[in-house]
């Protein structure tokens, strides 16, 4: 079996969870991967200081799409405060595959856009190298 393109990665890529628009929403952001121009946006609905629901939209490679899709399941219900503290390791571990230095940005794009929407800070998540 392929190291990177595991079954669950391809599954999340082909059938991404929580993708689409979410209207109305309370927070949103849109980011590019400067490497390839891939675009990923997010809509977030907030309730009691937590992410009640969220949807990603945009396009990207298997790594960035799967990473956003997998993260979306974890992010639902998470306290906004906690979102602000998520770092690169969190996203990489969640993804569960070895990611090369070049493709780290693909794997982190989803987290970047969510943190951008929630905290307004759209720098790359700490530890992106």
């Amino acid at each position: 079996m392929d190291d990177l393109y595991r079954d669950y990665i391809l599954d999340h890529y082909k059938r991404p969870r929580n993708f689409g628009e979410l209207d109305p929403h309370d927070m949103e952001a849109l980011e590019h991967n400067p490497l390839c121009g891939d675009e990923l946006g997010v809509h977030i609905r907030v309730k009691d200081g937590r992410i009640e629901d969220l949807r990603f939209h945009g396009h990207g490679c298997a790594i960035s799409q799967a990473s956003a899709s997998i993260a979306s399941e974890e992010l639902k219900g998470m306290a906004l405060e906690q979102v602000g503290e998520l770092d690169a390791d969190w996203a990489i571990e969640l993804l569960g595959i070895p990611v090369s230095a070049t493709r780290r940005k693909c794997a982190l794009l989803g987290l970047k856009v969510v943190k951008g929407a929630v905290t307004g800070d759209n720098s790359w998540p700490v530890g992106s190298g």
Binding site: D38, G60, A62
Partner: protein
């Protein structure tokens, strides 16, 4: 016993120069390296690597100022490189300026020519198929000077319309027309001489980005008729750190300098400075000496191969590449359909696979191709794609490299369960 495939590949010529390129004996995960990313940067023959080492180990000194033997050797090496590099593309050494890459060469024109010659109400005309290096400097210039940046459109075949060029020029506000010689995404070879003739007739100035042309086909800049012609060393078998700008004497002489400092002055006092003669006026500070020596060796190498042969080889190889890519289900090539009208590259998409994943999976087969927007985001938007994968050839590629690519793409589709 010959398979159908090997019969077909032997029908395509090779220049048989692989052994000149040390890197090509590398293996990636046990598979021989297949380099199909010359559009991004070329590999270097031993002749170039050795020329650099030899210069640094035997002759190294700063140029233009020393009277001792090493300094004279360095001067001679640097200026002889300039002469050979200029001659390689049919231009004069005195108006051949070394920059750090083609991006700096274009910026030089944008700053030093553009800021005095483009003003409010004027227009700069570029094309939708340019590399960012030939778009962003003009966006910046036009914003600063209150001018307008307009784009020649790319049609379905990946070509421009000369009629649109005529119409744009007829508006009477165009000061500069700047365009690529060969598109780094579509492969399209533009009709440079026809375009510069029209630009000249309209009284405008022309700049051609030759980054993807000079390494791959005979280029006679004098015959092409551009006012400025720029290219970059690292794509032409030379090292990083050097670009080339050819310009017309009258224009260069009237321009103010760009970067200022040592070597580009005639004299400096506390109140001001006067400028050195061409080409030094545009070469501030210690120039890329070892890099010029390396690029000099690169053009010698290419001249010895013969650029007509290089072009013939790459055209055939590109034809073979286009043919074989058609075998991959779901694959779509962008740009001109025939190899005749394109440089040695093909950009493509595969239904159901992102370009990044295509490149990643090609690497599993030891095949190096590029994926992304290729520094041409506006073109990507025009084509309606997010990214493409691109295979591009050089003198050292052979049909087996194309075969390896196709095998890797087919294997990649299986990984993606397509």
């Amino acid at each position: 016993m010959k398979t159908a495939e090997s019969e077909r590949t032997t029908a395509v010529s090779t220049l048989d120069v692989r052994d000149d390129f040390p890197i090509l004996s590398r293996h990636i995960d046990g598979r021989p390296l297949v380099y199909l990313d010359s559009g991004a940067t070329s590999q270097k023959p031993a002749a170039v690597i050795d020329a650099i080492s030899d210069y640094l180990s035997e002759h190294n000194a700063n140029v233009h100022r020393g009277v001792y033997a090493l300094a004279q050797e360095s001067d001679a090496a640097y200026e002889s490189a300039r002469e050979r590099i200029a001659a390689f593309v049919g231009w004069e050494p005195r108006t051949t300026i070394f920059t750090k890459n083609v991006t700096e060469a274009i910026n030089l024109v944008a700053y030093a020519w553009g800021r005095t010659n483009v003003g409010p109400g004027d227009a700069v005309l570029t094309t939708q198929m340019e590399h960012h290096a030939n778009i962003v400097p003009w966006q910046v210039l036009c914003r600063e000077r209150g001018a307008e940046l307009r784009y020649l459109e790319v049609d379905e075949r990946g070509e421009l319309s000369l009629d649109q060029l005529d119409r744009e020029l007829a508006r009477g506000d165009v000061k500069l027309v700047t365009f690529t010689h060969v598109s780094n995404v579509l492969g399209t070879i533009l009709p440079v001489a026809e375009m510069t003739a029209r630009v000249r007739a309209a009284g405008a100035t022309s700049l051609v980005d030759g980054a993807q042309a000079v390494p791959h086909m005979p280029v006679n800049t004098a015959a092409l008729g551009a006012d400025f012609y720029a290219w970059t060393g690292h794509k032409a078998l030379g090292p990083t750190g050097i670009g080339v700008l050819h310009g017309r004497t009258e224009i260069l002489e009237q321009m103010e300098p760009f970067l200022t400092g040592g070597d580009m002055i005639a004299s400096v006092d506390f109140d001001g400075a006067t400028w050195n003669e061409l080409p030094f006026k545009f070469e501030a500070g210690t120039p890329p000496i070892a890099e010029a020596v390396g690029l000099g060796a690169a053009v010698d190498y290419l001249s010895a191969l013969g650029m007509e042969r290089v072009r013939a080889h790459e055209r055939k190889l590109t034809g073979y590449l286009l043919d074989r890519l058609r075998e991959v289900p779901g694959l779509r090539v962008v740009g001109p359909p025939e190899a005749e009208n394109r440089g040695g590259l093909a950009s493509f998409t595969i239904e159901g696979m992102h370009a990044h994943d295509i490149a990643e999976l090609a690497n599993r087969g030891g095949v190096c191709i590029r994926a992304g927007h290729h520094c041409a985001q506006p073109l990507m938007r025009r084509l309606g794609v997010a990214a493409t994968a691109r295979a591009s050839v050089g003198v050292y590629n052979e049909p087996v490299d194309v075969d390896a690519l196709i095998d890797a793409l087919l294997a990649g589709r299986r990984v993606f369960e397509l």
